[in-house]
């Protein structure tokens, strides 16, 4: 197992004798860790360095002498104390290990040849290393139905289980979803779920990773490979912006699984199921392996790269010649590597000369704000005793491993979180106080909390007394304009000068893309577009471009002729659906650079086949600004290629040179020439936990003035947020997770539902000024009065038709249809 003891700085040294030698250990640390750190690995099954010890399996018995004679003790339960003498290799210990293994194997089926764990199984390995070789038990072994599904993703084989309590402890302690439990007693004990209530945790895949036997297996990997056939490389998950470290494991050029790596500042070895099983999309049959060009009959058909790139280049040149460079726009790029993001920035801004570039799709925050806020790392936010103001989206749904860290911080490390948002979230049970801010009121609720006029006296005092306030800031509601969040951020910076911020944006490398300059008005390194030409560039745009909504608006009315979608799908992702539709129809040429023909690419004139996660090497930047490496493990299908290569080829055809001599790393090094923050990356790739970049510390962003209309008694304020499993392309292309997305629904509070006659699953008509949808309504205790919640990109009902981008809030009327 890859579970190493945590790094430790010895502050209270004590001396203990380990197998006859004096060693120094930290007072109070667990003996099992101290021994491992000093070269004596003690076999174990139940102990996991990220969970509390339980002493279940008894495998870690060692002889401990604290002055009263040596006795066998479980080393995972014994804190080190001064003068302790430990023997991990004595005859007594060997006999104990031998005996424990004989017991553990008494009921274990020994079906290793057909077990997925065989070859990487702690029980198998330790039975070989410390076990008796043969068993004295002749009795029939315990029999159970072979694997039973305990969730849509995880199977449980109770015969193989050795009852180590790891999965059940994980579910309870780490994930907070105790849906699996020991059931029955004695020799009948088994791990199981409650009948009809599956282990539907967002984190269920971790139990498969930490299971020390083959009892838990995950459907995407079952019977796909033997461990000795797998090759692995360490990389970073890019499904959301938390940036969990993973190993990517493949066989025969196909990724077969991802495992979490214990990165102390980030993911602590945990992954969410969306990240863990999302690799399936890369193996999808629907990947495109060749560029696609819309033929005269209107079909997208495969063409050679030369044809596709020539077509793209001539469309761009024609637009630039005709209406100027600003008639070309680039939308997306928040899922690319840093190198690709920089290459596209340079192509768009330095070569084509347009500043109409935005990597966010109207669902993020202004780049100046994200990059300008004084930063807080995940560790700083979760630091013992910290006070956190949480203004972000539901972390459990959007940034799952950040949720695990925050949950642990609040639950075990005394971190006090005040949550302000339009609904309760997955984090609400653990926070000090959840304060409802109806859509449009976020800034005013925060203002009241900080100036002491809030009725939430305790929360207000907590925030005002905090010596260094940490703020997690993001978009809890896509139907509320971003300026309201900007205003809240400015308020906090003005009234709490020492406050630091963790931006909770969602897309994998959104921060890296912003730092690379894929945002209007910015250059790489967060520099403001003001005439300075970065080294290696020919020129910079002369006029500032527009944000995603402005770009789409321009495309809709023909001012943007060429719309390049860089791994983005505005038709599905941009909150204002009708604008996205008009834009795609209005642009003369739509070029999609994507691994899939997504909803928007269906309407494109040209689709350039791009590589995906695990197919391209480079670096990525997580929400804190931590740069980590992405490694390539498999090759992209057909002639699909990295986004930066596409940029290089396109630049060539536009008669310029992107300056890449050997590899994508040249791009990163060029960026480092210009950006002080990126200098750390110049001397080679960031390894392991990565390098933190900090380009914060700018002036406030002045948000546009806006007025939130008063709520009227007949309507509800719409909250548009996301769920972990939705109908996004990558999920839809992952067979094991595709079915987990729910149906469209509007969630109401009981107080609002009753007068409408809504109970259970009534069909209702939700009407805004701009459109209406028919959808099932349910009552949700997390929803406050006055609010209607719908989920973005979920189900067949398109909530995006209700809003218009630029409106501060969206009021809807709900009637039983």
């Amino acid at each position: 197992m890859s579970e190493k003891p945590r790094d430790l700085e010895i502050t209270e040294p004590v001396e203990i004798t380990l197998n006859g030698e004096l060693i120094t250990a930290q007072n109070g640390e667990l003996l099992i860790d101290a021994c491992e750190r000093n070269g004596s690995y003690i076999p174990r099954f139940c102990y996991h360095p990220r969970m509390s010890p339980v002493g279940m399996c008894r495998m870690c018995l060692v002889e401990v002498d604290t002055g009263r004679g040596a006795a066998l003790q479980p080393s995972c339960m014994i804190p080190v104390s001064d003068g302790m003498s430990v023997d991990t290799e004595s005859d007594g210990v060997a006999k104990a290990q031998d005996g424990i293994l004989e017991f553990l194997l008494a009921n274990h089926p020994l079906d290793c040849p057909v077990c997925d764990k065989g070859g990487e199984c702690p029980l198998q390995d330790q039975a070989y290393a410390y076990g008796p070789g043969e068993s004295r038990f002749v009795e029939e072994k315990r029999h159970n139905e072979k694997p039973i599904p305990i969730s849509d993703l995880v199977f449980l084989d109770r015969e193989r289980c050795i009852l180590c309590d790891r999965c059940t402890r994980f579910a309870d302690e780490v994930a907070g979803d105790p849906l699996i439990h020991f059931i029955h007693r004695g020799s009948h004990t088994e791990v199981n779920t409650f009948p009809g209530e599956p282990f539907a945790s967002y984190f269920s895949g971790n139990t498969v990773q930490i299971c020390p036997v083959g009892a838990l297996t995950a459907s995407p990997y079952r019977f796909k490979a033997r461990p000795w056939d797998l090759e692995e490389t360490e990389s970073t998950c890019t499904r959301c912006s938390v940036g969990c470290r993973v190993t990517v494991e493949s066989s025969r050029n196909e990724v077969l699984r991802l495992q979490g790596v214990d990165s102390d500042p980030v993911n602590w070895s945990w992954l969410c199921d969306k990240g863990r099983f999302g690799f399936e999309a890369g193996n999808s049959r629907n990947r495109i392996s060749q560029p696609l060009l819309r033929s005269e009959s209107g079909e997208l058909s495969e063409v050679r790269w030369n044809t596709a790139l020539d077509g793209a280049a001539s469309a761009i040149s024609a637009a630039v010649d005709g209406r100027g460079p600003q008639s070309v726009a680039v939308l997306g790029g928040a899922r690319l590597t840093n190198e690709s993001a920089y290459a596209w920035t340079k192509l768009a801004k330095g070569v084509i000369g347009t500043d109409n570039v935005d990597c966010q799709l109207g669902d993020g925050l202004p780049a100046e704000l994200v990059l300008g806020l004084p930063g807080a790392s995940i560790d700083e936010v979760c630091e013992s005793g910290a006070t956190v103001l949480y203004l972000g989206p539901d972390a459990k749904e959007e940034l799952p491993v950040l949720y695990l860290r925050l949950r642990h911080a609040a639950d075990s490390d005394g971190v006090k979180i005040v949550e302000v948002g339009p609904t309760l979230t997955g984090l609400s049970p653990y926070v000090a106080e959840s304060i409802t801010a109806l859509p449009g009121e976020t800034a005013s609720v925060v203002a009241a909390l900080l100036d002491g006029t809030s009725e939430h006296v305790q929360a207000s005092a907590l925030l005002r007394d905090a010596s260094d306030l940490k703020v997690v800031i993001g978009r809890a509601n896509l139907a509320e304009d971003e300026t309201i969040t900007v205003k809240a951020a400015n308020l906090i910076r003005e009234s709490v000068p020492g406050a630091t911020f963790l931006p909770a944006l969602r897309r994998g490398n959104v921060r890296g893309a912003l730092e690379a300059g894929l945002s209007p008005g910015l250059l790489p390194g967060g520099a403001v577009l003001a005439g300075t030409v970065p080294p290696g560039w020919q020129s910079v745009p002369t006029e500032k471009g527009g944000s995603a909504s402005e770009i789409l608006e321009d495309a809709a009315n023909g001012r943007v002729e060429v719309l390049i979608l860089l791994g983005s799908d505005p038709l599905r992702d941009f909150p204002d659906r009708s604008l996205a539709r008009r834009a795609l129809a209005g642009a003369k040429t739509v070029i999609s650079v994507d691994p899939f023909v997504n909803a928007s690419a269906e309407l494109a004139d040209l689709v350039l086949a791009a590589s995906m996660f695990s197919e391209s090497a480079g670096t990525t930047t997580n929400l804190e600004g931590r740069v980590t490496t992405l490694n390539q493990k498999v090759t992209p299908p057909g002639t699909a290629r990295d986004d930066w290569m596409i940029a290089v080829d396109l630049t060539d055809r536009l008669g310029a040179d992107l300056g890449v001599e050997t590899s994508a790393a040249d791009l990163l090094h060029e960026m480092a020439e210009f950006s002080d923050a990126h200098v750390a990356l110049r001397d080679g790739d960031p390894v392991g936990d990565g390098v933190m970049l900090d380009i914060s510390g700018r002036d406030l962003v002045t948000p546009a003035e806006f007025e939130v209309p008063a709520a009227n008694a007949y309507s509800l304020r719409l909250v548009l947020n996301r769920t972990m499993y939705d109908k996004g392309t990558l999920l839809a292309e992952s067979p094991s997770s595709a079915g987990l997305a729910g149906e469209s629904v509007v969630k109401l509070s009981a107080a609002d539902a009753a007068p409408l006659g809504v109970d259970g699953s009534t069909q209702v008509k939700v009407t805004s000024e701009h459109g209406s949808v028919i959808v099932a309504a349910t009552i949700d205790p997390k929803v406050p009065k006055g609010v209607a919640v719908m989920h973005h990109v979920l189900g067949d009902v398109d909530a995006g038709t209700l809003l218009v981008s630029g409106d501060p809030v969206c009021d809807v009327r709900v009637e039983v249809s």
């Binding site: 105790p178 020991f182 059931i183 029955h184 007693r185 199981n192 779920t193 409650f194 009948p195 209530e197």
Partner: protein, 208 residues
Amino acid sequence: MARLTPDNLLLARKIIARFPKPRSATIMLCHLAQEQDGYLSEEAMAQIAELIGATPAEVLGTASFYEMFKMHPVGKYCVNVCTNISCQLLGGEELLEHAEEVMGIRSGSTTEDGMFTLEDVECVAACTEAPAVQVNYRYFNKVSPEGFDELLEDLRSGELSRTIPPHGTLGYVRQDLDGDRIANITPPSQQVEPVWFPDGDSDEGPAK
């Protein structure tokens, strides 16, 4: 059936209120549900979980640890025949066989009329009275096959309904022995109702 009746729900809330942490009431609420239905149903466990803020899996995990919570419907009377060493030596296994014969069921199952569930059990701590039988955990000592037949007859006819309430009922009479055989056991006549039973104004404080 299954979910708590309104009265029991009220009682459940009172029980929960006696503890600083709601989940401390798990076992008591399981007893309450078992008293209501004769066994602990899945619906009841799910409802208990809701009431105490736990998951149903946690309630099941806790309840299933205890042999005396029955997860499946059982007869009105659970008849336990001890087959552990003392009883075995004095005819426990023969008694069990006899019981299976006369009741027409195998150990571990319930008669069709829903009157009896027969179980063979490990030591019930009545070795001096072997072979011992329990009916709803009330002891019958030195039971002969004929005695067993009589016992069944008395249970069927209602003769014993006063001393042996239906399975799940909480309360009195744990052991019915002659005075001279009792050591440090409160005689049934002096036992009080369990503390979580309301008696008029039980709101006024903790356990009596």
